[in-house]
Amino acid sequence: MASLWEYANPVKFLRLSERVQPWLWWGAGICLIVGLIWGFFFTPDDFRQGSTVKIIYLHVPSALMAINAWFMMLVASLIWIVRRHHVSALAAKAAAPVGIVMTLIALFTGAIWGQPMWGTWWAWDPRLTSFLILFLFYLGYVALWEAIEDPDTAADLTSILCLVGTVFAVLSRYAVLFWNQGLHQGASLSLDKEENVADVFYFPLLVCIGGFVLLFLALVLYRTGTEIRVRRTRALMAREARLA
């Protein structure tokens, strides 16, 4: 089988992307609809949290994707730095806005989920705070891409920012845990992956997670294709200007 690096070639990437995308889009749609309907209509309430437990079908998958999106951007940035494949740099750029949306969903659902527990619409719970910081890192990354004109320079600088940002994001996570220990707020958001989620919640949750993953992949592949086409258009227009 040919090496994965073949798809660093934009044309090959586009061809593969076109073939794979329908599966991803349909898969995402089906999983999301099935998973959310199952979770919303056909699962019981939680003993402690009542019907708010239904929010996990949105909160957990989006939170997972918010982190995984950044991690994917990190890997793509490293590939750009080491092997200079433009597709990789563009994939990182493409993933960022999707990561932002995932982070926003995680933040909103997390805050709303906590409201019955905390009595306020927002609390500086370690998990929510860390996601808020992650949101700021995403914003900075996207802002830097937008601010730099030369695409290769932008790719270089944003990759380095992604690397440095990752280190500080991890550092911040621990700092936030340290910062929050003084507060005895009661249960932090529970029913996360580490806890023992009852089977009846577990399977619709898995389907929803699958739906979010597939949607993320579909969006990133599509958006990377768009970025590749933007690059090609600019190259063609530059050529036109030169020949004119």
């Binding site: 700021l136 802002a143 730099i148 600088l157 380095i160 440095v164 340290f178």
Partner: protein
């Protein structure tokens, strides 16, 4: 490298070099806080360590774009890049000069401003210590941010957006240390964590910043 350091120092201290602006900003922010939260002494005592840390942090941020932009614009940076000095060293030296002209004055001014905010007596020592340990990290992280935005017109706001999230660990540990001391508690742990972050930043960030400058000077 020493020559570069003293040159930057002299440039900052000269008229129009921006020295004292950071200090003035620090003062103004501290003065504005009671206007925004009310003058009750008890409340001010409670928030004093955090406000002083935040004020110092924001004042550091102010002068960051001068760190590299001036030399970038008149071509001095290109010249420096061709010298035998490594870019990492150049950035480190500039960050050091920034700290001496911005961070250090803030550290020294903090106790005086602490009086304005009714800081608890037990808090003064650790406040100064935490700022002394933390502000070098702020300068170095700021230098990295300055390198990223050096070629961008009006990059100041973007610089803040990029750098402020990076300041979070230092701010958390520094302010926590100051807060604990002000409450009469032991502040060793956050101080150690703060020192750890600063050491790691001073060791690693010059390389990241050098990498970034190399890209921008291409």
């Amino acid at each position: 490298m020493r020559a570069l350091f003293f040159r930057d120092l002299a440039l900052a201290l000269r008229a129009g070099g921006g020295f004292g602006l950071g200090l003035a900003f620090f003062l103004i922010v501290v003065v504005l806080v009671p206007f925004s939260v009310g003058p009750q002494s008890a409340l001010l005592t409670q928030i004093a360590p955090g406000v002083l840390w935040l004020g110092a942090l924001l004042a550091c941020l102010l002068s960051l774009d001068r760190l590299l932009a001036v030399d970038w614009e008149d071509g001095a940076l290109d010249l420096l890049a061709t010298s035998p000095l490594p870019l990492e060293g150049i950035v480190a030296v500039k960050a050091a000069a920034h700290w001496v002209t911005t961070g250090l004055p803030l550290v020294l001014a903090a106790p005086v401003l602490g009086v304005l905010l009714n800081l608890a007596p037990s808090g003064y020592g650790v406040l100064v210590l935490s700022l002394a340990l933390g502000t070098p990290a702020l300068s170095m992280i700021g230098a990295f941010g300055a390198a990223l935005t050096v070629g961008i017109k009006r990059g100041g706001l973007l610089l803040s957006l990029l750098v402020l999230p990076l300041y979070v660990p230092t701010l958390i540990f520094g302010a926590e240390a100051a807060r604990r001391a002000a409450q009469g508690l032991d502040s060793a742990t956050p101080l150690l964590l703060l020192a750890g972050v600063t050491l790691a930043v001073l060791a690693a960030m010059p390389f990241a910043a050098g990498l970034v400058l190399r890209v921008n000077l291409r």
